[in-house]
Symmetry: D2
């Protein structure tokens, strides 16, 4: 089978580099080009400053970065976009109008009712919004969004809990990784021996996006903080359920949870989207963030604090499952469905 052609916008940032890493040697997708801002244009990816722990695959390190120009994007099956929101807001609609299918990380348009905001195991059916989007906007292509990283990691375990026991109320406190702010987002002198109890705009996103994805109207209260961890968002979650539960059943339901990516054995799908740890002191970012090659979230400390009062901690890799990996999985699902 010929591989599908894909193009990466914003390939030099932290999420862009994850796209490059995850798409290198992808069985279905072939990266045919990369674009970034003028500053990096013309250089090879390997010269720009690779910041992931593993070096870039040699064949990609040699690729030359193009200047982002909507007129020069080649014909491809999917465009992966890791552009800053303000750039994305201008570029993505133009590309969609010209027929490109864009899997986008940026927050613009996420809450538009005709824009799919997809976690492939949680709300795959929302991909059908693409039809409505094309009709309403007169586009030949489409824009499909991934949620905020914190939203994605939270909604994976909330979904099976919601389906099984119902949810009345959720309190969340997050401890988020540095990479979530981008390469230059958090100065080292600001976070050394410290934490920062605020992330601009983040809490509103998690609240709004969770309601859109789960189509549920429970109360949800969110506080987001930044801690001195490179990768991996940790979220402490209290859930008031509608029906009572026992802890063993919750662990089992979470572990059994599957979606179309597992059924279709998509290349980037983790075997289990939710892994459960029984040790008292897990999940931990450094030990658990690479579960399922960064595509599984890890749940631990499942507790029944009172009747219908559930608590757990969920951790996920913010730039893999929370960003590039989730979009690639979505593209795989779209490709599989369109065969």
């Amino acid at each position: 089978m010929d591989r599908l052609k894909v193009y990466i916008l914003g390939a030099t940032g932290l999420v862009g580099q994850r796209y490059v890493q995850l798409l290198a040697r992808h069985p279905w997708f072939e990266v045919v080009g990369l674009a970034a801002s003028e500053r990096s244009a013309g250089r090879r990816l390997g010269e720009v400053g690779w910041v992931l722990d593993e070096p870039p695959p040699p064949e990609v390190a040699e690729m030359r970065i193009e200047k982002l120009d909507v007129d020069k994007v080649p014909r491809v099956d999917f465009v992966f976009s890791a552009l800053p929101s303000e750039v994305a807001a201008r570029v993505e609609p133009e590309l969609a109008a010209r027929g490109y299918v864009i899997l986008s990380n940026s927050s613009n348009m996420r809450m538009d009712p005709d824009v799919p905001l997809i976690i492939p195991e949680v709300n795959p059916d929302d991909l059908s919004l693409v039809e409505r989007q094309r009709e309403g906007r007169g586009w030949r292509g489409a824009v499909v969004k991934k949620p905020n990283c914190t939203t994605t990691i939270l909604n994976l375990p909330l979904k099976p809990v919601l389906d099984e026991w119902g949810i009345e109320r959720v309190h969340v406190v997050t401890m988020q990784a540095l990479s979530g702010a981008g390469y230059s987002g958090v100065p080292s002198v600001a976070i050394a021996d410290n934490l920062i109890p605020f992330i601009r705009g983040e809490e509103e996103k998690v609240v709004g996006e969770t309601r859109k994805i789960l189509k549920a109207d429970f109360e949800i209260y969110v506080t987001t903080t930044r801690v001195n961890v490179v990768d991996g968002h940790t979220e402490v979650v209290y859930v008031d359920t509608r029906r009572d539960f026992d802890v063993t059943a919750v662990a089992e339901v979470l572990e059994r949870f599957r979606g179309p990516p597992q059924e279709l054995k998509l290349p980037t799908a983790p075997e289990r989207p939710i892994e459960v740890r029984r040790q008292a002191d897990r999940p931990q970012p450094r030990l658990d963030r690479m579960a399922g090659r960064g595509m599984a979230v890890v749940v631990g400390r499942i507790r029944r604090l009172a009747s219908r009062k559930l608590s757990f901690i969920v951790l996920g890799h913010n730039t893999i499952r929370g960003a590039a990996g989730n979009s690639i999985l979505t593209a795989e699902l779209m490709a599989a469905q369109s065969r």
Copy 2:
């Protein structure tokens, strides 16, 4: 006025060193001796390995550490104890029986109904339990406890909120400092680029102690975690109040909160036990933990998330207000009351 004589048990640990630091040049108290385990006995404090940022005061660095022996504690007005709980459980009752008044940091006996568990601004009247303790146990001395550090930092802002608006339900998630586990408590390889979402025994203490201190029966749910910060516990708090409030009023009530330590102008009392920060990204451990010389807690991000739904973040220095400083303030209150 002659200074009151005090003695420190467990002087070589992290909290013991804070006692030494805070009592050096204290206007009312004079350290007449130090005891620690056999391992350190006979050495000078300055030789044992000082771990606080400021060097030990020279006059104290020269003091020779004695081996802990209940028969050899000199006659003093107060004994400050930073012993491990299992040692304290044996030593403190013996000393109390012999007439010593012990201000103790360890968790044994905290929940005994005849043991005062004191935050001087919050429940000073509980010092009257000493009488009951002496009668019931036939002691001439007494054991007075300080709460768990996380409890103390939490209860300072909860008290005025309880008094003003009532409390139905509290959800807490903490991000606690390394020093709370003692000098060797958290190996560096365990916490580098990581956090640990569990502290053994901590959550139960915060729940039980809060109910004892505030004498209130609201629901309280607590999750405690460890982050890579040297000093300063951060706590994210959601409070369901009985009556509605507005954010400005909460800030004012917290800032106006005072107790006997302020009225009596006790030497270790901060001018304001609760400081409120208006900047969106505060409190932060490194920037705020020394507020009020480590004796004030700092509250920020006061939000009204819904009717009767309050949220804020409180930070306090865990080994000063959360430990040694709180006990010294309690001793000052006892000294002032007995004049």
Copy 3:
């Protein structure tokens, strides 16, 4: 006595804030104004983002930041400049021509033969270059530079060793703090669980400046690296001396070292510019950087590795002794000499 009037250029950066902190309540100097780039102009210093551990003194927090404009600098006795080098290169000569005496942190002009590059205990006599500077350039004012922070910390112990035993060759490896790169200089994701073995331009500065300051022609080899420490540069130094020594004598000579700041009891002078630690594992940045209120350097691990082969480790606070504090001390020396 009326206090001398001083003005701060570049008051919002890390070094600028140190100037503000160290000059608040200074017995000789009164800050009459602050200037920074257009971005901060018009705001109060307390609103700009204070990043030091101690909060800004309230009287300074209220000061309004002016836009940097050479025409609007008031008549003052000293201007302290923490401007970026490229701005300083333009502004400082203009101000000096107009009669201002500028104590400058930036690296431009440091190697000009008519510019004093001063560590007040090491080469105070070089202040006489001001006369030559004024004559040669036709300035009424003057530009006086402080060395690179690493240079200053290195030269304090090298000076007495040079005077006592002579120096043939020096090998240096540094482990430098994050604050040396400025507030945004090192992204947290770049340094977490990492170190960066290169600091652009630093090694050349240390070599060239050391030769200028010590007026000696020994070989000197320098490697500078960045480690995950907020404040405090650590430098491992090997010195091939001309004459043999013993370790005790080196310790004594370093401890006895004094200069005009100590003789004149200048307000910012540490009692001893060099403190020696005998413990095997010192100096350490967190424990020793505030020695002498950040104005002393701390030397440890003095070893005689072979005949005429000396090794030691020196640590100093890079933004106090290495920057703002050194310039203030220089201004104090100039003020004392001109009385």
Copy 4:
């Protein structure tokens, strides 16, 4: 081919776990048993507290840990020992006398003249000392040591430099990782926002072992420090060579360096034992420690500071190439040679 049987002593520590990880699915070796101290005996490896980033291979996680007992070690081809030195000093000779061939990490016996101290690419011929050891001690088995981790990382690049240009004098300053001190070796409060400029016994080991391995009598001066990095020792090296060189030639000689492991294509051998980075700011621990799956060292910043004055920085993974990996590679070499 049947796999050779191997046994691991001290399997629960940081290096022991690396042995387990690197030997899982090894093409030549099969782990038939694990032993550790009494504390862990009887438990499964997966229950003991796995501390590496990747989870233990499931088949190994199920293995039951045996109590260390020289009478109960099964017949195996190689015993890998990660025991503490004081235990090793007692156990290893007993096992060697009984016929076991032990690849040992601990420092005892390293300097004995009849004990091979092997870096397989550097001094493979020293394996012939085994004959002398057997004769002299009357052992049927043997003890083969790996050097101190810092020594190994240093000697890999020194060897080709010595062979090509000769060495007169070496100055080294190291910045070593936390894992080198073992799991509990460095408390987090000791190293946060800090470094520790001393590692007990380390410098003497590097000096003595380097002379033994390279059989050269150049001067060598070493200072070892600990920095806040999980894995990966960084070493800044100044070499006074006997003959002059140019930088390009040094890079080429290092990159071309090979030994028997590469010629024999041993399973654990990296393709190139020394990788050279040309970027100015490399090597960096987090980005480079996994080069050659942790078995290559990475050299950067090759500079010619003066005639015959070479400087470079070398980085290696201290628990892979510096410990378990080096011993496994040595066993592979012994196995290949005995076929």
